[in-house]
């Protein structure tokens, strides 16, 4: 880009950039010194978040990556409807997702009451947190992996097949390695969405606290200054996730 384009497009774009950066800077400047004030329940919330988010991510990945591969390769009637439903949680407001989950897994529902009788309550429990996080975050790994699989030349798979490898061996040895940066980015984004999940978690499992719900509770009790510690932890996670995604998506770019 030459000077004139840079000024026009960069100048207009800078407005949005500064709007995003300003609160970030204000937060770090405003919280200097206040950071050591850790509210009660902080430790428990960190542990809860660090247990539930990886579990939700693992569930989404184990089932979501095959689903993504299936959607990228199979053609069938009604595929567009299946795709729409898989992506739905991505655009559905989390509070609505939470309400839906309560209708499906609440204590008074068939599924929920059976689970309670087995000693595994699906709401207001860590299981409930995982249910909420998985519901809201899983589309990330499906959508990103699907795009990754779609960009793998199918002739690579055909080549593997003609060599005598079956479809499962071909998936493990050819398709998955070729799409691994996209799948990796999807997993990381799913984790970020899961660990930051708030709306659906509030409805399904107000207790036990995760970091986002703790921030809300602390905010109600003590205002903005009370949320610094959990917010900093989550900011750290977010920054790590962004760096990881950038690294993953850089690799193929450099090779081209």
């Amino acid at each position: 880009m030459r000077r004139r384009e840079t000024v026009v497009f960069g100048g207009i774009g800078a407005v949005l950039f500064l709007y995003v950066v300003y609160p970030f800077a204000a937060f770090f400047i405003g919280t200097r010194g206040a950071g050591s004030d850790v509210g009660s329940g902080f430790r428990e919330a960190v542990v809860n978040s660090l247990v539930t988010a990886p579990v939700a991510t693992a569930i989404a990945t184990v089932f979501g990556v095959p689903l993504a591969y299936f959607l990228s390769r199979a053609e069938f009637r009604g595929k567009v409807v299946v795709e729409a439903l898989v992506v739905l949680p991505l655009v559905l407001p989390p509070v609505v997702g939470g309400a839906m989950l309560l209708m499906g897994f609440g204590r008074l529902t068939t599924v929920g009451s059976i689970a309670v009788s087995m000693g595994v309550p699906l709401t207001d429990s860590l299981v409930g947190v995982v249910l909420a996080q998985t519901f809201v975050a899983s589309p990330f790994v499906v959508v990103t992996s699907r795009a990754g699989f779609s960009s793998v030349d199918e002739d690579l798979e055909h080549a593997s097949r003609t060599m005598g490898h079956g479809p499962i061996a071909t998936f493990w040895n050819v398709s998955l390695p070729s799409a691994r940066t996209a799948v990796g980015a999807g997993v990381v984004l799913t984790f970020a969405r899961a660990i930051g999940e708030f709306g659906a978690t509030m409805m399904v499992a107000y207790n036990p606290r995760t970091m986002p719900t703790l921030i809300w509770v602390d905010f109600i009790a003590r205002g903005v200054d009370g949320v610094v510690a959990p917010a900093l932890v989550l900011i750290g996670v977010s920054l790590t996730v962004i760096v990881a995604v950038q690294r993953l998506e850089r690799i193929p770019r450099l090779r081209r």
Binding site: D155, H158, A159, S160, T162, M163, H165, N173, V174
Partner: protein, 354 residues
Amino acid sequence: MMLEVRGLTKSYGEETAVDGLSFSAERGEFVTLLGPSGCGKTTVLKTVAGIRTPDEGRVLLRGDDVTGAKPEERQVGVVFQSSSLFPRMTVRQNVEYAVKPHIDDADERRKRVDEVLDLVEMSDKSTASPGSLSGGEARRVELARALSYEPDVALLDEPLTGLDRALRNELKNEIRRVHDETGVTTVLVTHDQEEAISVSDTVVVMNDGEKEQEGTPREVYRQPRTRFVAEFVGESTRFDGVVDRSGDVTTDEGAKVRVNGRGEGGEGDEASVYVRPENVALVRDVDVYDNIFSGEVVELTEMGSHAEAVVSTEAGDILSEVRGFSDVREGQKVVVGFDDSDAVVVADAADGEP
């Protein structure tokens, strides 16, 4: 017969890609499917490989019907149109992966990988990643990989497309050499007539999903049986007219073109006569040629090894190849001549066109 394709038909939606195509390849034969882009030749190749399922027709390998078999159940080696080396494996790992389902013993496997990399002269690049190879090197490795497990048939889909002319020539000779050394039955797909003619034992000319002609390179070039083949395979001058009693053709402009034995046409048939530029000589006076037309050079194109002159005559524009040091100039009055035995007739009865 190593490979037989019988009555293959395949449609994508409303579009018929291949329409009742049959051809076969004997053990060790080099067969080329030649045709313009979109004529269905890649679909034929993918059907033979088991990647596409035909709507109708059969594919036989070594006499066994494999029409419904999966790709991994056939013994075929494929070089795809765009490079299909596995990007996360080295050159060596690519070949090893191909050999693995076929040879259990690790030592024997290693030996085989060495052999085929040697065969295509890529041994010194065995630890390279596919991304670091040049276009020609990648093609060599793909060829080695496709042959490494000694398939019944090697299927090569436009392996020379996208390469420079000099490299194309080199790799074409390489492909033929490797074929001759391994003796593997080979089916190559191309839209380049020169490539098809210079590399194959048998050429199958395709158009719109159908077979136009099958024969040796020389037959296809010298004895085209349809207008499409005459015009797609090499350059020619075309005269349109009607076959007279003696078998010669009187053109629409009233000129008579003498024909001797090549092609067929009954008296009164609408027919086209084709003559190749290399068989048309520029002469100063009437000569020993059976066909003589006088005219004027209206276009002269230098081609390096020769020049091509377009001569405007009473029978239309005639294309002539001019060789050696020549003082031919545009605007010059000349006489062109060609033998009746170099003129090929394609009559409508044979062509099926109106």
